[in-house]
Amino acid sequence: MNKITSIEQLEKIQQEKQALWSSGIKLVPVCGVCIGGQKLAQAMRDEVTRQNIADKVQIVETGCQGFCKMGPLVNILPPEGISQWQNGTLYTKVKVEDAAEIISKSVMGPEVIERLLYKNAKTNQRIPVIKDIPFYSKQSKYVLERCGVINPDDITDYIAWGGYQAAHKIIKTMTPETVIGEVTQSGIRGRGGAGFPTGIKWKFCRQSPGPDKFMICNADEGDPGAFMDRAVLEGDPHSVLEGMIIGAYAIGANYGYVYVRAEYPLAVKRVRQAIKQAKEYGLLGNNIFGSDFSFDIGIKMGAGAFVCGEETALISSIEDRRGMPRPRPPFPVAVGLRGKPTCINNVETLANLANIINKGAKWYTGIGTEKNYGTKVFSLAGAVRNVGLVEVPLGATLQELIFDIGGGAEKGRKFKAVQLGGPSGGCLPEKLLDIKIGYDSLIQAGAIMGSGGVIVIDNKSCMVEVARYFTSFCQKESCGKCTPCRIGLMRMKELLERITSGEGQKGDIELLIELANSIKDTSLCGLGQTAPNPVLSTIRQFRHEYEAHIREKECPAHYCKPLVKFMVDTDKCKACGQCIPACPVEAVKGKKGEKVTIDVTLCTKCRSCIEACPFDAIV
């Protein structure tokens, strides 16, 4: 492969690929990261071989397309081509057995397979066009535009979408200062949680003296329940690399790392492949585009420590030390990796940059609301109907995110709260759902934007238990360096355990608040400083649940094991029998067609029957 040195060469690859796409070869994107997706993609490929149509049909194994609840997904592209995929058709919950039919009828022929179309739960109508599906119609996909339709393992797919043209533009026509100026004007704020303006961070790093600087992509994504960064790395890795090139040029770095969690093996593989290809094309390495700018990227795998998402701990970890944070200042932009100025940006922040450079800061500030420009990717999970990956403009409301796109609580249960920002974040109740999503508005409400994990909690979950869960998570993940975090969180966890087991005492809530505030004020790093947030926010919004546990020794949500006995509400039980096989200890007695009972002497309160019951009949 000849190294690319000019825009003409880049455009030539783009045109060749587009010509191939419009020459009649049919691309069929299949989500290969859903559970079962890889098997399906293989079955589709086998079918293509069997029908001997490899010259006409190409199965593209893609990254996550977002609608995970309905996966595995197959896209039938519209005649306008791949860039207009939202005008195409989506097949949902596709099975290996459907592969042959899809290829014969919908790929080689014009037929639509009715049963595989998404069915609107409210109207019971099947929806043939992707953009009419409520889950998609309310989204604005910029970061995720290509995710789930292109082949992430092929750099020419990315180039065909105009990839690496932003890198070319800055290296060939802009000074680092003008790049920083443009990014500052776009107003983009870091998507990793803290929301620090990216342009300003770059400016500080550029101004730090010294010839050696580093550009690091933070792909540690430690917030449990969040999978945005994973999806971007697996679905469109070159967009992150291009963002790193832009950042490196702006700050003056010649080397960078992607620090990615070891729990994401596929993401590691995809990034490795992307780096290799970018090097072959001369887009990484020495003298990029024939200029005197050189930049190369290595991969570092995390080793299972949440705190390593914190930037100084991340640096320690790359330096082969225990991943313990250190006090800031000095900030990494001044003294970072191996003592050199270092800029650390989140995956999603980086994936926004090519768009900002190509389309301009003005375009970017046209999306979103004041001081909160652009879009944000969220992963919707927990007790929500449409679990998946969504991208909305900042300024959209939580209501739109959770109900219009997410479809609200699943199984006809009642929405109780939404947890934003993971272990550093907070819970918001229904009455606050009109809030416009933004960095400052969410803090005001008692939550944070965080990295984008959105966990929906329904009336079957106990808020004290949720607080105990997060506290226990942070306590386990505390690196142990500072006392408030190491010991304070332990004490807080014990208090919460006492309350959830019905042993809570008068004054426990006040004690929790006092402890929480001192941990917040005195911890060394962001982990300890934010770990009490879930406790404080649940006390603020759901204090009555704490009080019920302490005073009445009752768990209002019927969750906390020592305080509940499982029973069947015979008015609600429809004798469907679904709970019977769900029980691992045969405590559900009865058979299909009869109302069931629960043998409390056998019941281990594992909640399997509650999860299995579609009628909310087990209390």
């Binding site: 329940g225 795998m301 927990g382 869960y469 998570f473 594992c606």
Partner: protein, 151 residues
């Protein structure tokens, strides 16, 4: 002898990267399933670090194992999404069925049980990962059935 050559080959592969310890430990673990005690001294000599410093790193990160695992590694996700969807019950049923707790290995060396925070498949919670197979939408009862496939 085998350890020695594996370690020096791996170091050579890591090329010019100045910080080789964690990547090296990761490859040792990948190859042997855990970090055998003998390798620590070899690594110490090769990288010119004290064994003490290497143990410090190994014990900090959850990924590194100082003991061998069973033939199959079961990881039950205890991330937030999985927790909300009943991961606790799934864990308890597997733990009860195998008669072991988190971090332990069955007497026949067939299974090691672990709990992990989020594997990024939250959309199909609760998740159980056995070796490299991801099982989604599991339940307490189903979890026991999954194990039947790994003998």
């Amino acid at each position: 002898m085998e350890y020695k050559s594996f370690i020096s080959d791996t170091i050579a592969q890591l090329g010019e990267e100045p910080n080789k310890l964690i990547p090296l430990l990761q490859q040792v673990q990948e190859k042997y399933g855990f970090i055998p005690e003998e390798t620590v001294d070899i690594i110490a000599q090769n990288l010119n670090l004290s064994a003490n410093r290497i143990y410090g790193v190994m014990t900090f990160y959850a990924q590194f194992k100082l003991k061998p695992c069973g033939k199959h590694l079961i990881r039950v996700c205890e991330g937030t999404a999985c927790h909300i969807k009943g991961a606790e019950g799934v864990y308890e049923s597997i733990s009860g069925k195998l008669g072991i707790h988190e971090g332990e290995t069955t007497a026949d060396d067939n299974f090691t049980l672990e709990r992990v925070p989020c594997v990024g498949c939250c959309h199909s919670a609760p998740i159980v990962v056995v070796d490299s197979d991801y099982h989604g939408n599991t339940s307490a009862n189903m979890a026991k059935g999954i194990l039947e496939n790994y003998k």
